[in-house]
Amino acid sequence: MTKRVLEMTVNGEERSLAVASYRSLLDVLREEGGLTGTKKGCDVGDCGACTVIMDGKPVNACLVLAVEAQGAEITTVEGLQSSPDDLHPLQEAMMEHGASQCGFCTPGILIMAKCLLDRNPHPTDEEIRFGLSGNICRCTGYTKIFDAIRTAGKRMAAASTGDGTKAPDFSKAEA
């Protein structure tokens, strides 16, 4: 089976990978791409653990062929942070609220929550539920995840309006 050269931008970095055309974007990101933050849960588009942003829209990476991402811009959970020591407000809030237990759904939840808050900084509970309805968490019961999203939304909105409110730095807190 011949391989194709796939060129895409992943987390702002141009990547060129040789891939077989039957491979999913999820497998290629994790294996050839070395980005294992994106998780493989169900592999049939039901659980949302593999959610990545493709050309501005959240998609299940397991339901995209890698070759379909030719020329695309992809953001994975690794791309949420501006630097290794600088967490995204959502990541900080998720830790603060204990919104991640086994952690397997967390990368997909973070990506979906980012898409939601970027569009709508003050979502209602119903809008959060609707926004995350393609992401399954079997540990938390969702309450702490929703709390974290509300907290992050408030901080992100405050930061963008420039009132100087800064989230506490949890990135160096003990696990």
């Binding site: 089976m1 497998d27 592999d43 339901l63 379909e68 979906m112 309805s133 393609g134």
Partner: protein
């Protein structure tokens, strides 16, 4: 994923020729959200995948007051869900789109893919049939326009011929005084296949029904029209007694089966409840 050969035709002619020459085992890839699941779960033996995303002119959405809505084979459920003319004129289709799977899936899944998959429980089919939509196809010798109500041959089967490709859906414009609704019944809101889906499109003048189309999903081998129920409604004034008779007749016309999601008896009973509610909902906000 299981291996297959991958093709990227640049034109409909080329795609159609590939479908013809590669024969059984060759399938069109549009959104892929159903197809990849079927490949992984070995429900479909795919030897060749023909990706039509590089073909131009299949992504358009156009609305006009005279010809209605037309959208191409590559339009995703998410794009149509956000389309202003759909939000304004086709709330039934909008509802079906917003309740289809998840946001992530809707960003990839195409509406025409959902139709061509020909599932009796497909969310987009009942509102489109109730609205009198047609499907446009491509064939090398000349395409055709098929009323969607005549497009399905059974579960998973359509009347598409070898090498024929569905390229667009056309929905007539709403008439003055018309109203439409779609109600999906399931155990949960997201990532759910309809247990029963009922779509109703009504035309009315001076509070008298002048046209009615009732489409029932997940209660037969294909999405059904409840023709006799429609006949009861046409000419009536939507009074409670008539609506009850219409709902009762719709229950008689459906042919549900029992499966993991529901018993046949429950489905039939829900057809009655949802038909009544869908008529009331369609009457609430007439165009």
């Amino acid at each position: 994923m299981r291996r297959f050969e991958y093709h990227e035709p640049k034109s409909l002619d080329e795609a159609s020729e590939l479908l013809g020459t590669l024969g059984e085992g060759a399938f069109i890839l549009a959104g892929g959200t159903d197809l990849f699941v079927e490949i992984r779960e070995r429900l479909r033996e795919v030897k060749h995948l023909i990706n039509i995303k590089r073909i131009s002119d299949l992504s358009a959405i156009e609305y006009s007051e005279t010809s209605g809505l037309r959208f191409g084979a590559l339009v995703t459920a998410g794009e149509l869900e956000a389309e202003p003319s759909v939000i304004r004129y086709y709330p039934n289709l909008r509802r079906a789109l917003a309740e289809l799977a998840s946001i992530q899936v809707r960003n990839r899944a195409t509406v025409i893919g959902n139709i061509c998959r020909a599932s009796p429980s497909a969310d987009t089919i009942p509102p489109l049939i109730a609205d009198g939509a047609s499907i446009e196809t491509f064939r090398p010798e000349g395409g055709r326009t098929i009323p969607l109500a005549e497009f399905f041959a059974g579960p998973g089967r359509t009347v598409l011929e070898q090498g024929e490709i569905a390229i667009a859906i056309i929905i007539p414009p709403p008439q003055q005084g018309s109203g439409r609704s779609y109600i999906k019944h399931g155990r949960r809101k997201a990532m759910e296949l309809a247990t029963v889906g009922v779509a109703v499109s009504l035309d009315a003048k001076d509070n008298i029904c002048t046209g009615a189309r009732i489409a029932l999903g997940a209660v037969g081998p294909v999405v059904l029209r409840a023709h006799k129920a429609e006949e009861i409604l046409i000419g009536s004034s939507f009074d409670q007694n008539t609506v009850e008779r219409v709902a009762e007749q719709a229950m008689q016309e459906c042919t549900p089966i029992s499966n993991v999601r529901s018993s046949a008896e429950y489905r039939r009973s829900m057809v009655g409840v949802l038909t009544r509610r869908a008529i009331e909902l369609a009457r609430e906000e007439p165009a």
